[in-house]
């Protein structure tokens, strides 16, 4: 059993890392995560160490990416801020995927009134585009980590509900579900143990890319003055701090943006790789 499981995982990894894109994305992501976790510990500067002699310093041997308006080392802040950005993206995408999946499963499995009620509810929910919903909820909940996570997660829920419901509907009347029902298996067990593993694949692919888009959305939110606020070194908040100096010191907005772009690129590449690896249509 165990050996079989291992071989499935290694088989999956081999298929995932077949393309150069997925390989690059995977490597980049591992590198970024490690750098953000370990980097701030190794850096000689603190994240809020003010050094007025080095205000707006450009790249040098001591400060690789220069310093910001208060002489704080930009690389240290970028690495430290990466923890915020990555955590925001991961937690929010996970939250919206889990909530969406559970609702979608319930809608697809129970059908009938439950389904139409849930789906009409989702229609209202998705009447507003995700970004606008995010702005509204962020203004309503205030700034801070958890409020921002919720604001970011809410917009993605209707999409994952619809996705899971569609998948669940196509599995709902297959024999293994009828078999489980016939031996009086509890509904919750059927949903979570039998239905869920068969509908989860597309959600994993979507979640990988949605971590990336959530990071971008979080950055946009901080940029327009909601969500995580300076002096917290989240990447979007750093962009929003730096935009006042765009004329004289463009490095303050160039580097945070490059960090966001590379992280999202890595996640997108990995998402594409996952899709190719998991999509049975393309499997040889």
């Amino acid at each position: 059993m165990n050996a079989k499981k291992n071989s499935t995982i290694s088989d999956f990894l081999r298929r995932l890392l077949k393309g150069w894109g997925a390989r690059l994305g995977f490597a980049l992501l591992v590198f970024i995560i490690l750098a953000c976790l370990i980097g701030p510990i190794l850096m000689p500067y603190g994240v809020n160490d003010i050094d007025l002699l080095n205000m707006f310093a450009s790249s040098s041997k001591e400060h690789w990416f220069g310093c910001d308006a208060m002489g704080r080392d930009l690389l240290t802040r970028l690495l430290y801020g990466g923890r915020y950005s990555l955590a925001l993206g991961l937690v929010a995408a996970l939250l919206s995927a889990v909530l969406g999946m559970l609702t979608g499963l319930a809608a697809g499995y129970f059908g009938g009134r439950t389904e139409s009620f849930l789906m009409r509810f989702m229609d209202v929910w998705s009447a507003l585009p995700a970004m606008l919903l995010c702005i509204l909820i962020s203004a309503f909940m205030g700034d801070g980590f958890m409020p921002t996570v919720i604001a970011l997660a809410v917009g993605g829920i209707p999409g994952s509900v619809r996705m899971t419901r569609g998948q669940a509907l196509s599995e709902r009347y297959k024999e293994y579900i009828s078999a489980a029902e016939s031996i009086n298996c509890p509904k919750i067990t059927i949903m979570l143990k039998h239905l869920l593993p068969n509908v989860i694949q597309p959600m994993i692919i979507i979640m990988t890319t949605s971590i990336g888009s959530t990071i971008t959305m979080a950055a946009a939110l901080s940029y327009i003055g909601l969500g995580i606020q300076p002096p917290t070194p989240e990447w979007g908040a750093m962009l929003s701090e730096g935009r006042n100096y765009i004329r004289a010191y463009p490095h303050l907005i160039t580097y945070p943006g490059i960090f966001i772009a590379i992280t999202v690129l890595a996640l997108n590449l990995l998402g594409d790789g996952l899709r190719d690896a998991l999509d049975p249509k393309l499997r040889e």
Binding site: M119, A127, L128, L132, I135, F140, A219, I224, P250
Partner: protein, 315 residues
């Protein structure tokens, strides 16, 4: 078909009312006293009380909600902005023009250029032309839109001085916002068009057309493009919704007084009539766009059309 449209429109009205109730409740519960935000910190309690009754926020939740719904859906009036004292409807009309002046050309660019690039890549699948197009598309999907906008401002406005960085004084001000709004759409459409075309290329009827010696250009135009058209319609509708939804951010980057910037200022100042008006408008815009998209599907795809004429429930 007529019955279907009617049913969809009715559903839409219900959705709009629900969305309006939700946004009203959000703004009602949002922290911060709107009267104090308007009058400043040193206002007296009497002045605040007077302001509150002038705004109508001293009434109960149900009363306020009922009057808001009545005004919005029966008299099509969003009330006056608390901050500027101008009717929200009139102001939105002026600002909508600016938002659409960016949104429509951006959508047009993203669909045409994106689709053409996607077809180009699909035809040259496996060669460096395909890889290069897809790598560039991937980069523009990944880079945050507003950051690309900042970088372009840096290049074209500050370094080269070719274009103005902000404002709406001349038509040149619109070039960068349009390009920046279009870029992610171009990338997404290129990827979608490519995979749609690739799916079609392997189809049997293409093999048949090739076997009978049809010219390649004709095959692309007559057999492949119509089948790849469905994702393109999704691209148009999704692009339009996305650009309008992204307008608060892109308008704040370029300081354009459009409808997104209006909503954002309303949110920041707790100007409830402005926020409600903008939200109802955005919801209406999104729902209408999706309805039109669904009708286009039905019109263009004989398979879907057949479903409607049989009066089958399609959901």
């Amino acid at each position: 078909m007529g019955r279907y449209i009617l049913k969809r429109l009715l559903t839409m009205v219900i959705i709009m009312v629900c969305a309006a109730i939700v946004v009203f409740t959000f703004m009602y519960l949002a922290p911060g006293d709107p009267a104090r935000l308007q009058l400043g910190l040193d206002a007296t309690e009497e002045a605040l009380q007077a302001k509150r009754s002038e705004m109508g926020i001293d009434r109960s939740y149900i009363e306020q909600l009922a009057s808001f719904l009545y005004k919005t859906f029966i008299r099509f009036d969003f009330g006056d902005s608390w901050t500027y004292g101008v009717p929200v409807m009139a102001e939105m009309g002026v600002r909508l023009k600016r938002t659409l002046l960016i949104g429509l050309p951006a959508m047009f660019l993203s669909v045409t250029i994106g689709t053409l690039l996607g077809i180009y890549a699909a035809i040259h699948k496996g060669s460096w032309k395909d890889s290069l197009t897809m790598v560039i598309a991937m980069i523009f999907i990944s880079a945050p839109n507003f950051w690309v906008a900042l970088m372009l401002i840096l290049l074209f406005c500050l370094k080269l001085g070719w274009l103005p960085a902000y404002g709406i004084d001349s038509w040149t001000c619109y070039i960068l916002p349009i390009v920046c709004s279009a870029l992610p759409g171009i990338a997404i459409n290129a990827r979608q068009a490519r995979s749609a075309m690739l799916e079609v290329i392997r189809a049997d009827y293409i093999t048949t057309a090739r076997a009978k010696g049809q010219k390649f250009g004709v095959i692309v135009r007559k057999h492949m493009l119509p089948n790849a058209l469905m994702p393109i319609i999704t691209g148009v509708a999704g692009g339009l919704c996305g650009i309008v939804a992204g307008s608060p951010v892109i308008e704040s980057v370029f300081s354009i007084p459009g409808i997104g910037a209006y909503m954002l200022s309303g949110v920041n100042l707790r100007d409830q009539p402005v926020v409600r008006g903008c939200v109802v408008f955005f919801a209406l815009f999104t729902s209408l766009t999706i309805l039109i998209m669904d009708l286009c599907y039905a019109f263009l795809d004989p398979r879907i059309k057949a479903q409607y004429s049989r009066e089958k429930k399609v959901d």
